[in-house]
C-alpha cells in the first residue's frame, strides 16, 4: 500500500496548513501516515451471513478516500464499522479481522466507544440538526464533553461554522432553530457540528445525495478544504463527485473490495475488469 503514496507526497507538503506552524511540520513528516488500517475484515449483521468479506485497506492521513460501488455492496457497512456505529444493531459485528485507527484496534474490549467517536466523526446522508438553536447544535459535542465556558464555546462555534462555510449566512441568527435552515445549510450545520468536536477523521455517508446541485457543489468545495485538517472517508454514488473530491477511491462489489487506488487511476485506468465495467457503465 505504501507505494500508492509516492505521487501524493509532494502535493501534501505543498499545501498550506492553517495557522499552526508546528502542525504543519508534523504533517509534512507524517504525510504518508496511515490512520486507518482495515485488516482482513469480515462483518455480519446476522451471524452466518457475512456482508463484508475479507476487506483490507489503508486510509491515509489528510486524504479524501471515496467508497464507490453498486447499492447494497457494503460501503455504508464498512464506513459504520469505522466508528462502531454498527454496535447499535444487536448481534451485528466483525466476524474476523481487525480495524486499527491511529494504531489502536478499535474492537478491542478496552476501547471506549465514546472516546473513539470523538476522534472519528460522522456526517449522515439525511442531514439532521437537533431541534435546538444553531449555536447549541454546534456546541452540543463540546457540551457533552463537559465544556461549559461561554468563551470557549463561542470560539469553537464560530470557528467550526467558519470552517463549514456557514458563518456568514447564520452569524446573525445563531439563536434561531437549526431546523429553519435550507437543506444544504442544514447539512453544513451538521458538518460544523461534527468538526466542532475536532475529530481526526470524518466519515461521510452520501452527504450530498439529498441536496440540490448548488448545495452539492458547496459541500464538495467544503470537503476539499476540510481535508487540510481532517482525514475524510466519503461514500458516494456520484462518480463525478468521487473524481472531484477524492484522492483515492475504493471500489466495492458484493461485499468485497475489488480495487483501491489513486482516484485518477481508478477512473482512467483501473486494473480490475469489474471496476472497468462499473465505471464505464456509469459513464455511459
Amino acid at each position: 500500500m505504501k507505494t500508492y503514496m509516492s505521487d501524493q507526497e509532494d502535493q501534501m507538503t505543498l499545501e498550506p496548513q492553517g495557522e499552526d506552524a508546528p502542525v504543519q511540520d508534523q504533517s509534512a513528516v507524517d504525510a504518508l501516515e496511515t490512520v486507518i488500517e482495515v485488516d482482513h475484515v469480515n462483518f455480519a449483521y446476522i451471524p452466518g451471513t457475512d456482508v463484508l468479506k475479507d476487506i483490507s485497506m489503508n486510509i491515509n492521513k489528510g486524504e479524501v478516500t471515496a467508497f464507490i460501488g453498486p447499492s447494497g455492496c457494503g460501503k455504508s457497512t464498512l464506513l459504520r464499522c469505522l466508528n462502531r456505529m454498527n454496535d447499535l444493531i444487536p448481534k451485528a459485528g466483525l466476524t474476523q479481522g481487525e480495524i486499527r485507527i491511529l494504531g489502536t484496534d478499535i474492537y478491542h474490549p478496552e476501547v471506549d466507544v465514546i472516546e473513539l467517536r470523538k476522534h472519528v466523526g460522522m456526517v449522515f446522508q439525511k442531514y439532521n440538526p437537533f431541534p435546538k438553536s444553531i449555536y447549541e447544535n454546534v456546541a452540543y459535542g463540546l457540551r457533552i464533553q463537559g465544556v461549559n465556558r461561554k468563551s470557549v464555546l463561542d470560539e469553537a462555534v464560530e470557528s467550526s461554522l467558519k470552517l463549514a462555510g456557514l458563518w456568514d449566512e447564520v452569524k446573525d441568527r445563531l439563536d434561531s432553530s437549526g431546523l429553519g435552515l435550507s437543506g444544504g445549510q442544514q447539512q453544513r450545520l451538521c458538518i460544523a457540528r461534527t468538526i466542532a468536536v475536532q475529530p481526526k477523521i470524518i466519515l461521510m455517508d452520501e452527504p450530498c445525495s439529498a441536496l440540490d446541485p448548488i448545495s452539492t457543489t458547496i459541500i464538495e468545495e467544503l470537503i476539499t478544504q476540510l481535508k487540510q485538517e481532517f482525514t475524510i472517508v466519503i461514500v458516494t454514488h456520484n462518480m463525478q463527485q468521487a473524481t472531484r473530491v477524492s484522492d483515492r477511491t475504493a471500489y466495492f462489489y458484493l461485499g468485497e473490495l475489488i480495487e483501491m487506488d489513486v482516484t485518477t487511476k481508478i477512473f482512467t485506468n483501473p486494473s480490475q475488469q469489474k471496476t472497468e465495467e462499473y465505471i464505464s457503465g456509469r459513464f455511459g
Binding site: 449522515f124 439532521n128 461534527t194
Partner: protein
C-alpha cells in the same frame, strides 16, 4: 350517490335498459354499501347530537343556579342572618383558641403519667378487641349466668316460703306442695344450666386465649407503643381477668394504675393551677357574647322562616290548586281548596323584622372591645414554655387562632355597624360566593352555603400529590423502557404498567381503604419517621392516601403517552448524537427528552385530567370531610381528610331533589370540572401540535 347518476346518462337509457345495472341487494334505490354508510354515519351523528344535548342540559341547569343562589343570599341578608354570621364568626374563632389551649393543658397535665396512661390505653384497646372477637359467646354466657342468678333468687325465696309454711301448721298443704314442686323444677333447671355455663365458660376461655394470640388484637395505637414485656403481660393478665361477664371488678393492677395516674395528674394540675385558671378565664370571657349571639340567632332564624314561607307560598298554593283539579272526591276537593285559600302571600316587612337585630348592635359594640382586651390579657398569661410535644403544637396553633380571633373582631366592628339588611346585592356576589365561598354546608337549619373552595382545595391538593408522585415515576419509567431497557424488559414492563389502567377504580378504592390506608397509617407511626410532616396520621382516609392511589392510577396514562412521545423522536437524532461521542444517557437527556418535551407535557396534562376527573377512588378514600384543610400544619396538611369536586357530585346528586338549589349547585361543580378538563385538554392538544411541527 354516484351510482344513481349513472342511470340518467343517455347511454344507459339508449335502448330502454340499464347497461351498468347494479347487482346484488337493492332496496328503495339504495344498495348495501349505502345502507352501511347510512348506518355508521347515523351512529356518528347520534353520538354528536347526544353530546350536544348533554352540554346544553348541563349548561342550562348550571346557569339556573345563579338566580336561585342569588335569591338565597338575598334571604340570608334580609333575614339578618348575615349580621348574625359575623357574630358567629367571632364566637367560633374564640372557641378555636380555647380548645387548642385546652388540649395543650391536658397534654401538660398528663405529662408525668404518660407511662401509666399508655398502659391503660393498651389495656383498654386490647380488652375492646378481645371483647369484640368473643362477643357472641360472651352474650350467651351472660344470659345463662343471669338466668342462673334469677333462679337462685327464686330458690331462696321458695325455700323461705316452704320453711315458713312448714313451721306454720295452718298453712295450706296444697300450696306447700306446689311450692315444693316448683322448687324441684327450678333446681332441675339449675342443674341443667350448670354444664351449659361450664361449657360456655370453657369456650369463652378458649376464645379469649385465641384472641390474645392473634397480633391484630395487640395492634396498639402509637401512643401505647413502647411498653416493656412485663407491662404487656400485666395487661394480658388484666384482660383475661376482665374478659368474663361475671368479672366483679377491674384487675388490681389496673386499679392501681388508675390511682397512680389520677394522683400524678392531680399533682400536675396543682402545679398548673394558674394555667387552668387562665383557661377558665378564656372560657368565661365569651359568655356574654355567646348569649348575645344566641339571642340574635333566634331572631334571625325566625325572620328567615318567615321569608322562606313567603317565597315558597305561591308554589305551595299552586300545588294545592293543582290537587283540586285532579281529585274527583268533592270532600277532598273542598279541603284542598280551603288549604289553598289559607295560604297567605304576604311579603314580610323587612324593616320591622330586623328592628330587634339593629337594637342589639350597640350591645355587641359594648361587648367586643372589652372581650378583645380581656383575651389579650388572658392570652399573655398563658404559659409560654410547655413540656410536651402535643402541648407545644397546640399552643402554637392557639397563637395562630388567637391572631385570627383578634383580627376577626377588629374587622367586624365596622362591618357590623354598617350592616344593612336592604343593602343591594349584585348578581356578581352570587358568583363570587360560589367560586370563593369557604363553606359548603347543605341541609342546614341555618342557611345553606355553596362555596366551592373546600371542594376545590381538596381536589387540588389530591391532584398535586398525585402528580408529584406519578410524574417522575411514570416519565422515568417511560424513558427507561423506551430508551434504556433491553427488548425483553420492554416486553415485560410495558404491558405490566399498562395493565394498571385496567384495574377498576372501585377496586383500587377498596384496596385504598382496607390495605393501603391501614399500611400508610402504620408506617406513619414508625418512630424513626416522626420527622415527616403530618406523621403520625390519626386517619386512614386522607388526602395523602387518595393522592397516592390516584398517582398509581395516573401512571399508565402518563407512561403510555410519554412513551409515544419518545417513540416519535426520529431515530436519526439518537444516531447523530452518538456519532458525536455522546453516551447513551447524554443522548437521552440532552436530545431525546428535550425533543419530546412537549409530548411529555401533554402526557402530564392528560394525566392531570385523569386525576382531577377521577371519582370513585377519591369518594372512597379521601375521607369526605367538607372543610378547607387546615394549612397551619404546613405540609402535614396532607394527613387530613378532604372532599373533592367529583366526590361531592357522586355522593349528593342522588339524594337531592331535582331542580332544587342544592341540585343546581352540584351541576355548577360539574360545570367547573368540565371547564377544567376542557382547559387541560386544550392545553395538551396545543403542546402536542407544537410537537408535531418539528
Amino acid at each position: 350517490m354516484s351510482l344513481n347518476d349513472e342511470k340518467k346518462t343517455p347511454e344507459n337509457e339508449k335502448d330502454g335498459r340499464v347497461v351498468f345495472r347494479r347487482k346484488g341487494f337493492q332496496f328503495l334505490g339504495m344498495g348495501l354499501q349505502d345502507y352501511i354508510r347510512v348506518f355508521f354515519g347515523g351512529n356518528a351523528s347520534l353520538a354528536i347530537i347526544v353530546l350536544i344535548l348533554i352540554c346544553l342540559f348541563l349548561l342550562r341547569e348550571a346557569a339556573m343556579f345563579f338566580p336561585d343562589h342569588h335569591q338565597g343570599l338575598k334571604s340570608y341578608r334580609q333575614g339578618g342572618q348575615e349580621l348574625v354570621g359575623y357574630v358567629s364568626d367571632e364566637v367560633d374563632a374564640h372557641t378555636k383558641v380555647y380548645s387548642s389551649a385546652n388540649i395543650a393543658y391536658f397534654a401538660e397535665v398528663g405529662r408525668t403519667s404518660i407511662h401509666e396512661d399508655k398502659q391503660l390505653r393498651a389495656y383498654r384497646t386490647v380488652l375492646a378487641n378481645v371483647e369484640q372477637s368473643t362477643k357472641y359467646t360472651w352474650a350467651r354466657l351472660e344470659r345463662y349466668l343471669d338466668e342462673a342468678e334469677d333462679l337462685n333468687d327464686d330458690v331462696e325465696d321458695l325455700r323461705e316460703d316452704i320453711e315458713e309454711a312448714s313451721a306454720d301448721a295452718e298453712a295450706d298443704a296444697e300450696d306447700l306442695k306446689k311450692d315444693q314442686a316448683e322448687l324441684a323444677e327450678i333446681e332441675a333447671r339449675l342443674k341443667q344450666l350448670e354444664p351449659l355455663i361450664a361449657k360456655e365458660r370453657e369456650q369463652l376461655e378458649k376464645e379469649v386465649q385465641t384472641a390474645l394470640g392473634t397480633s391484630r388484637v395487640w395492634d396498639l395505637d402509637i401512643a401505647a407503643r413502647g411498653l416493656s414485656d412485663e407491662e404487656l403481660s400485666m395487661v394480658r393478665e388484666a384482660v383475661v381477668f376482665e374478659a368474663y361477664p361475671d368479672a366483679e371488678d377491674e384487675h388490681e393492677s389496673i386499679q392501681n394504675l388508675k390511682q397512680v395516674s389520677r394522683d400524678k395528674k392531680a399533682a400536675e394540675a396543682e402545679r398548673l393551677a394558674d394555667f387552668k385558671e387562665t383557661l377558665n378565664g378564656i372560657r368565661d370571657s365569651i359568655r356574654p357574647m355567646k348569649s348575645l349571639y344566641g339571642e340574635m340567632k333566634d331572631i334571625s332564624v325566625a325572620n328567615r322562616r318567615e321569608i322562606d314561607a313567603f317565597s315558597t307560598a305561591p308554589a305551595r298554593r299552586a300545588a294545592l290548586l293543582a290537587g283540586v283539579e285532579q281529585t274527583d272526591d268533592p270532600a277532598e276537593k273542598e279541603r284542598m281548596q280551603k288549604q289553598a285559600d289559607e295560604v297567605v302571600i304576604v311579603e314580610p316587612d323587612y324593616d320591622a323584622i330586623n328592628e330587634p337585630l339593629y337594637a342589639l348592635v350597640p350591645q355587641h359594640g359594648e361587648l367586643a372591645g372589652p372581650l378583645q382586651d380581656e383575651m389579650n390579657k388572658l392570652f399573655r398569661q398563658l404559659p409560654q414554655e410547655v413540656e410536651t410535644k402535643s402541648a407545644r403544637e397546640n399552643m402554637k396553633r392557639a397563637a395562630v387562632y388567637y391572631e385570627r380571633f383578634d383580627n376577626t373582631v377588629t374587622n367586624n366592628r365596622d362591618r357590623i355597624l354598617d350592616w344593612r339588611h336592604d343593602a343591594p346585592l349584585s348578581l356578581w356576589t352570587s358568583t363570587t360566593s360560589f367560586m370563593f365561598g369557604k363553606h359548603w354546608i347543605t341541609n342546614s337549619s341555618w342557611h345553606d352555603f355553596y362555596g366551592l373552595l373546600p371542594l376545590f382545595t381538596g381536589s387540588l391538593l389530591i391532584s398535586i400529590i398525585a402528580l408529584t408522585v406519578s410524574v417522575p415515576f411514570a416519565v422515568a419509567a417511560a424513558i427507561y423502557v423506551n430508551q434504556i431497557a433491553r427488548f425483553k424488559e420492554q416486553s415485560f414492563v410495558k404491558p405490566a404498567i399498562e395493565f394498571i389502567g385496567a384495574i377498576p377504580s372501585v377496586v383500587l378504592g377498596f384496596f385504598g381503604i382496607l390495605v393501603f390506608g391501614e399500611a400508610l397509617r402504620n408506617i406513619s407511626q414508625l418512630e424513626w419517621l416522626q420527622w415527616v410532616p403530618g406523621f403520625p396520621m390519626a386517619e386512614r382516609l386522607t388526602i395523602l392516601n387518595a393522592g397516592l392511589l390516584l398517582a398509581f392510577m395516573a401512571v399508565p396514562t402518563i407512561f403510555t403517552l410519554t412513551e409515544d412521545a419518545l417513540n416519535n423522536v426520529p431515530a436519526a437524532f439518537s444516531e447523530n448524537s452518538l456519532a458525536l461521542g455522546a453516551t447513551k444517557l447524554q443522548t437521552v437527556f440532552r436530545v431525546i427528552v428535550p425533543t419530546a418535551v412537549s409530548g411529555i407535557i401533554a402526557a402530564i396534562l392528560l394525566g392531570f385530567g385523569r386525576i382531577i376527573g377521577e371519582t370513585m377512588v377519591v369518594l372512597l378514600v379521601a375521607g369526605n370531610k367538607i372543610k378547607i384543610p387546615d394549612f397551619t400544619e404546613g405540609l402535614g396538611v396532607v394527613a387530613q381528610p378532604a372532599h373533592t369536586m367529583t366526590g361531592i357530585i357522586a355522593q349528593e346528586l342522588g339524594e337531592v331533589d331535582s331542580g332544587s338549589l342544592h341540585w343546581r349547585a352540584l351541576f355548577m361543580v360539574g360545570m367547573v370540572l368540565f371547564v377544567i378538563s376542557l382547559l387541560v385538554n386544550w392545553a395538551a392538544q396545543r403542546t402536542l401540535k407544537r410537537l408535531q411541527k418539528i
